[in-house]
């Protein structure tokens, strides 16, 4: 007979494993399906300083592993597989994965978000060889050279500051005339002598035949274009939700985020969205873990009414 889990959680980041922790502690049979390794975006974070309880900070990878261990302690299971499609309309819900079919009474979407690209010419072609999305990973290949960072939010400024310590020169390209990043980051950036900011500018194209040779920028105020020749380009223009594989009936907003309020309930009864993947004002580890706890509250209600 096929096993039907009380809940299957898709995504093993902070939201996913907090849901798993609360669900397994509540005695629900719980499976987390993770396509790569646990932690999600958290695993990519060097040091986490805004998650309480760690007075000296903690590296994201370790925190992710601890969250997994916290949930598995109460019986939550983890499976490494990618969910390809789902049937949410029939019960139990069916998930088609790279490791076969899975069944559950409730489903939690905790797939998070991934870095957004600009969608300009040359970007895909030079991704990983001249164009990069992870400053912490690839910055060291540009030691003592000139790099260009695109973006104006917190992560763009963090990337620019990180690269400024490694590289000879950093050019930060921002499409507005002021930063929307936190004050502390903007101040730190202005103290860096080797960072030059190009305001009101957008990157229009990445140039080069065999090798990345430069970029074309356009000033959005006067329309003037200029060509620069940095050694490397780092794109840091925010994220987009990992929701492409989800079925139609799960309502999403114009940007692809799953429409769900603080209850984490979605347009489908018994299906919840936690963490960065849902519509919310602040995407942080603390807000993702809060979602996980709340989701289980409504999940228990649903299971009591419909299943148990």
């Amino acid at each position: 007979m096929k096993k039907v889990y009380d809940t299957i959680i898709i995504g093993g980041g902070p939201g996913g494993y907090t849901t798993a922790l609360y669900a397994s502690r509540a005695g629900l049979s719980t499976l987390v399906v993770e396509k790569m390794t646990v932690g999600g975006q958290l695993a990519l974070t060097d040091t986490v300083e805004n998650y309480p309880g760690f007075d000296e900070g903690i590296d994201g990878f370790t925190l992710g592993m601890k969250m997994q261990a916290s949930a598995e302690r109460f019986g939550a299971e983890t499976m490494y597989a990618e969910v390809l499609s789902m049937d949410l309309e029939n019960t139990p819900r069916k998930l088609n994965t790279t490791e076969g079919e899975l069944y559950a009474h409730t489903v939690v979407i905790a797939t998070g978000a991934y870095p957004r690209l600009l969608g300009v010419g040359g970007e895909e072609k030079f991704l990983g060889r001249g164009v990069h999305i992870c400053a912490h990973c690839d910055g060291r290949f540009y030691k003592d050279r000139t790099v260009l960072v695109v973006g104006g939010g917190n992560s763009a400024l963090e990337d620019a500051l990180y690269l400024a310590r490694l590289c000879e020169r950093v050019i930060l390209v921002h499409r507005r005339d002021a930063f929307r990043a936190e004050r502390v980051l903007v101040d730190a950036l202005q103290r860096q002598e080797n960072v030059e900011v190009r305001y009101d500018s957008v990157l229009e194209e990445i140039l080069g035949d065999e090798k990345m040779e430069g970029v074309r920028l356009r000033n959005v105020r006067d329309g003037g274009t200029s060509v620069l020749a940095p050694d490397g380009v780092f794109i840091s223009v925010g994220r987009e939700p990992a929701t492409a594989f989800l079925p139609q009936e799960l309502a999403r907003d114009a940007h692809g985020y799953i429409i769900a309020d603080e209850t984490t309930r979605t347009s489908v009864d018994g299906v919840y969205a936690v963490g960065d993947v849902r519509t919310k004002p602040l995407r942080q580890i603390v807000t993702a873990v809060a979602d996980g706890a709340v989701a289980v509250e409504y999940m228990k209600e649903y299971l009591t009414k419909n299943i148990f």
């Binding site: 396509k35 790569m36 390794t37 932690g39 695993a43 990519l44 974070t45 060097d46 994201g60 990878f61 490494y80 597989a81 990618e82 790279t98 991704l127 990983g128 060889r129 001249g130 990069h132 992870c134 912490h136 990973c137 690839d138 060291r140 290949f141 490397g232």
Partner: protein, 103 residues
């Protein structure tokens, strides 16, 4: 079988291997590398017919530049000493296995 740590000294053997070779260029401080690392180790255990090697780019800079590695993790698939695929970025196990199958 488990993976081998590839360095300048033993790279010659890797190149001469009759098996399909999967190389993972990584660094300890790189988040996506730590995500893909356990996946690579699992593939090494489950697929003895593949020679799996890990190259630490901090320790083996010459190898990294010989493969023009500018982004980590970078995965390289070799056959008979020649590169058949080279991809940058972490990816799920199923995708890596598909790359190996099509190599």
């Amino acid at each position: 079988m488990s993976y081998i740590k590839v360095n300048a000294t033993n790279f010659g053997e890797v190149e001469k291997s009759e098996k399909v070779v999967l190389l993972d260029f990584y660094a300890d401080w790189c988040g996506p590398c730590r995500m893909v690392g356990p996946v690579i180790e699992e593939i090494a255990k489950e697929h003895p017919e593949i020679l799996v090697g890990k190259v630490n780019v901090d320790e083996e800079q010459a190898l990294a530049s010989a493969f023009s590695v500018m982004s980590i993790p970078t995965l390289v698939i070799m056959k008979n000493g020649k590169i058949v695929r080279q991809v940058a970025g972490a990816r799920p196990k199923a995708q890596i296995l598909a790359l190996l199958e099509n190599a």
